[in-house]
């Protein structure tokens, strides 16, 4: 057996019991790696449960900066007896197993091709603490100490992180206790265990990047986008969006003079009420949003249609998950794409934004409100559990202070007074976007009655067919206008001229750069198109037209975005090759590489002899 030897490039996986306080210790470990100047890709893998069920945290230490999961585990921290067998089995040959050696392992159940690293965590905690809860909590910090010693993480880095976490006099006793536990674990390893082949070295590869989850980022985007009304109903994995919005608003949106709130947040009785409140607030001129997941989108369908036809700005943050019921909802998917794009009854199409990480979740989170006001329509910010609930190493949030919120076409009291013609559904500018008035603007002009359909250009009731068709055609023109306003795709050429391309969106991007680099090493060169919005802009159509085949990588069973590309752009289906991953786990670069390499051979994307190389 040859133990794995790697510097700044390995995967550590923590196996814990839910509710045992491991999350903060594991987060501490990931931050310590970052403070060593080395990037991480970290992911929680957790069940739908509060306490007592298995939970895992995977930290990929990756100097090259890849953002996805690699696949496989090099060092397992096995703290959950229940999942022991699986955790051991998952280790790469030559991998390392850190375990609690307070009680001897049962003979005969251990792999021969891994390195055992026993630390008597329970025993040492029992000596140091008498309170059962403390014994549990400090066991976590203690294994972080053991890891720091094993992997050569500078102890000062972790001590500084602890000092930041427990700053202030009141928390001083906690700081001391955490430090003591950390040192005990650290010193035990130094004294008792041999050096291992996994090692960290200080680098400067993190730069100004931040470590944050996408739900918080989207919520902060809503603050910067001027949202004042949030109506929501708790649903995993979106709940932390509303909670983060509240946290940020309490920090950033309380009038310092009066102590009063420049925001309102209502936890509604269900998703129907959530979207109803958003529609009411949007109708009345406030920027409003809801955060939900697939089942919530299903419940909101009727209102989404009303908002589309009545042309009311609304922002929906959809943090996608496996559906329905409980269980898979704590797993990630991109399976709401079509139900969001065509949500509701009648002919409807909606604007979707696809951020790839928390940085874009912030930027698009703010932009969604401008788009909703400018286009007077619902806008979906399509996150997923992987972006939303995981901490990502990502570019810092940026804001241009010269930027103004774009309220779109709102006719003012002065314009109405001056006698400007107001027709709520009148296409004045030829872009399909009419003017609106906020209720209460002018004593005699600008009032209108809002309905779904059955109206003419001046919002007067009519059931005449031509008036309906006229309105529907204008809505199509408006959707064309949206193409010019939504984020353009990110297109990148392969290192060599390529006849084939690959297209993806959202969190699927995480392993893509790494997978494409690996494919290049195998002689498979692909041009790249990262779709960032629906409707698809001309650049997306041009990209597909310019290639013989395009692999469309997404995280759902039915190739939902591929179907939309076929239908919306009139593309021959055989041109788009689906690469699908939908078991609920985040996509790995190994999976993408393998799938594309196999399909590339099948479709003659590269000569067979090249693949054979």
């Amino acid at each position: 057996m040859r133990p794995i030897e790697r510097v700044n490039d390995f995967v550590v996986k923590f196996a814990n019991v839910n509710g045992s306080g491991s999350a903060s210790a594991n987060g501490l470990f990931a931050r310590a790696v970052l403070r060593m100047g080395v990037p991480v890709a970290a992911r929680n893998i957790f069940p739908s449960n509060i306490q007592g069920m298995p939970t895992w945290y995977e930290v990929r230490i990756v100097e090259a900066g890849w953002r996805g999961r690699r696949g496989g585990v090099d060092l397992a921290v096995a703290m959950n007896p229940e999942t022991w067998n699986g955790d051991v089995a998952e280790l790469e040959p030559g991998g390392y197993l850190l375990y609690d050696s307070t009680r001897a392992l049962t003979a005969g159940r251990m792999r021969e091709d891994i390195v055992l690293l026993g630390v008597p965590l329970t025993g040492m905690c029992a000596e140091m603490y008498s309170d059962p809860r403390q014994r549990q909590l400090f066991k976590n910090i203690m294994y972080v100490g053991a890891l720091a010693a094993l992997l050569h993480i500078e102890p000062e880095v972790i001590e500084k992180l602890l000092a930041e976490q427990y700053a202030g006099e009141r928390k001083a006793p906690l700081l001391d206790a955490n430090r003591a536990a950390f040192r005990r674990g650290h010193d035990y390893v130094k004294a008792e265990l041999p050096a291992i082949g996994l090692r960290m070295e200080r680098r400067d590869r993190v730069g100004s990047r931040i470590f944050v989850d996408g739900n918080s980022a989207a919520a902060l985007g809503a603050v910067y986008g001027g949202a004042t009304v949030c109506a929501w109903y708790p649903i995993t994995p979106s709940t932390s969006v509303a909670e983060a919005f509240k946290r940020y608003c309490q920090k950033l949106r309380v009038d310092p003079a009066t102590g009063k709130n420049r925001f309102a947040i209502v936890q509604a009785e269900d998703e129907l009420a959530s979207i109803g409140m958003v529609v009411g607030a949007g109708w009345n001129g406030a920027r409003a949003f809801t955060a939900t997941s697939g089942p919530g989108i299903s419940l909101m369908q009727e209102f989404i249609g009303l908002a589309y036809f009545a042309e009311i700005p609304a922002v929906l943050i959809d943090v996608q998950r496996g559906s329905p019921s409980t269980g898979m909802p704590t797993k990630t998917q991109q399976a709401d794409v079509q139900s969001a794009a065509y949500a509701s009854h009648g002919d409807t199409k909606h604007v979707l934004l696809f951020p790839e990480d928390p940085t874009e979740a912030f930027a698009m989170g703010a932009q969604a409100f401008d788009l909703a006001d400018r286009l007077q329509t619902p806008v979906f910010l399509m996150l997923d559990l992987d972006i939303g609930m995981q901490d990502w190493l990502t570019e810092p949030f940026a804001w241009d202070d010269a930027r103004e919120l774009d309220r779109g076409k709102v006719m003012t009291a002065e314009e109405l007074e001056a006698g400007r013609d107001f027709g709520r559904y009148l296409d004045v500018d030829g872009d399909g976007v009419p003017y609106r008035t906020y209720p209460g603007t002018h004593a005699k002009r600008g009032a209108y009655f809002t309905r779904g359909t059955s109206k003419d250009r001046y919002a007067r009731y009519t059931e005449e067919g031509p008036a309906y068709v006229d309105n529907m055609q204008r809505l199509l023109r408006k959707f064309e206008t949206a193409k010019e306003l939504v984020p353009a795709p990110a297109i990148e050429k392969a290192a060599q001229p390529a006849k084939a391309g690959v297209l993806w969106y959202g969190s699927t991007g995480a392993p893509m750069a790494e997978a494409l680099a690996a494919l290049e090493r195998r002689g498979i060169h692909l041009d790249r198109c990262r779709v960032r919005a629906f409707p698809f802009t001309d650049a997306v159509a041009d990209f597909v037209a310019a290639h013989d085949r395009v692999f469309v990588v997404e995280q759902n069973r039915d190739a939902q975005l591929r179907g939309m590309l076929v239908n919306e752009l009139g593309i021959a289906p055989e041109k788009l090759v689906a690469v699908l991953h939908y078991d609920g786990t985040p996509l790995t670069s190994r999976f993408v590489e393998r799938e594309i390499a196999e399909k590339a051979a099948l479709f003659n994307v590269v000569p067979m002899k090249k693949v054979a190389n």
Binding site: G226, V229, A268, E269, D270, L272, P439, G440, A443, F449
Partner: protein, 351 residues
């Protein structure tokens, strides 16, 4: 169906209110409901209320769900913004609208199907959140637009026009609102405008969730013998508990009249209502007594009308949310966008 505009010309001698508006300024296009529909009487009462209170029509937002009742906002307050929303979901839309701009007067128009059947959930949560609005249920116990099905307020044993008998227990929206924390609860009858107009006036001036359940007979589908929501039935079984006088300004001296028969209640805006009791033992501010009175009236087969419950002590949704005085829809960029310096601090905390 077409949009029927009324002629804009009117007689110069039409009376004007304090704002200089005539009643015509509070009207809408001609109703397309059936001749004799109770709902049109309610629309007329609403027009009278806003005219007499001299509330600028454009400062009213009128919202409704779906159904005959929900069509009526088209037919009054033509200068107000109106919103015909989703069946049973007007309460959430009204709540959101109210959050966006606390300065408008909110009027929710619904029906018994819209509020008690499909919309019971939203009705309940609207009441318990204390949204500042007047919510009028035009209650005829029947679905009109789909031609005569029972709604959830139809009394057990009442007969449909087609001859079927309703075997389900009715939902009493007044009793429900009482248990859910509504702070102004009344019941009226579309056939008694003299009672209805002061009730709506007081509800509009009340700060909080005000609901008026207005029994409003359906001439097409629920005005026959065997119906308990017909004109004849309600007239025969109306148990009036009190009459209101609404006074827009705080009166210097209130003539209490006969002791015990009149109660003056000051509203949040400084105006007052005088409640002239008819039922001697009725006090609309004691919830337990109100409940037992209503239950006794129900047992006796009576329809209790009047101001049934009032609590002026409870805060509304904006108080609970601690929102700024300026409407949220009028906040400027500087009030909303924290800027790049604050963002730099947030970034620093995430490293």
């Amino acid at each position: 169906m077409t949009y029927l505009a009324k002629p804009k010309l009117h007689h110069p001698s039409l009376p004007r209110n304090a704002l200089g508006y005539t009643r015509r300024d509070y009207e809408g296009p001609v109703s397309t409901l059936c001749a004799g529909c109770g709902h049109d009487s309610i629309s007329a009462a609403i027009i009278q209320v806003f005219f007499e209170l001299a509330i600028p029509p454009h400062r009213v937002a009128k919202l409704s769900g779906i159904g005959c009742s929900s069509k009526t906002p088209t037919y009054f307050l033509g200068q107000s913004h109106g919103f015909n929303t989703v069946h049973g979901r007007m309460p959430s839309v009204l709540t959101g609208a109210n959050l966006a701009n606390r300065d408008l007067v909110y009027l929710g128009i619904s029906g018994d199907g819209d509020s008690a059947s499909i919309g019971l959930g939203q009705f309940a949560h609207l009441m318990r959140r204390g949204v500042n609005m007047t919510y009028i249920v035009e209650n005829n116990g029947v679905y009109g637009l789909t031609k005569g099905q029972f709604s959830a307020t139809a009394d057990r044993g009442s007969k449909s026009k087609a001859g079927y008998s309703n075997e389900d227990e009715p939902i009493d929206l007044v009793m429900l609102a009482l248990t859910l924390g509504a702070t102004f609860i009344a019941r009226g009858f579309s056939g008694d405008k003299a009672q209805l107009v002061p009730l709506i006036k007081a509800a509009v001036q009340h700060k909080g969730a005000a609901i008026i359940d207005v029994v409003s007979p359906c001439v097409a589908f629920n005005n026959h013998p065997g119906s308990t929501k017909s004109y004849d039935y309600v007239r025969a079984h109306n148990e009036t508990v009190n009459f209101l006088d609404y006074m827009p300004e705080r009166p210097a001296i209130v003539d209490e009249g006969a002791p015990g028969s009149v109660t003056t209640v000051t509203l949040h805006d400084g105006g007052a209502i005088r409640v002239r009791r008819v039922a001697a033992d009725y006090d609309p501010r004691r919830k337990v007594a109100v409940m037992s009175y209503l239950e006794a009236a129900r047992e006796a087969g009576e329809v209790a009308t009047g101001l049934l419950f009032l609590d002026e002590s409870v805060a509304d949704l904006h108080d609970a949310q601690n929102t700024v005085e300026r409407p949220l829809n009028a906040l400027a960029d500087a009030d909303l966008v924290p800027g790049s310096a604050a963002l730099a601090r947030l970034n620093a905390a995430l490293r």
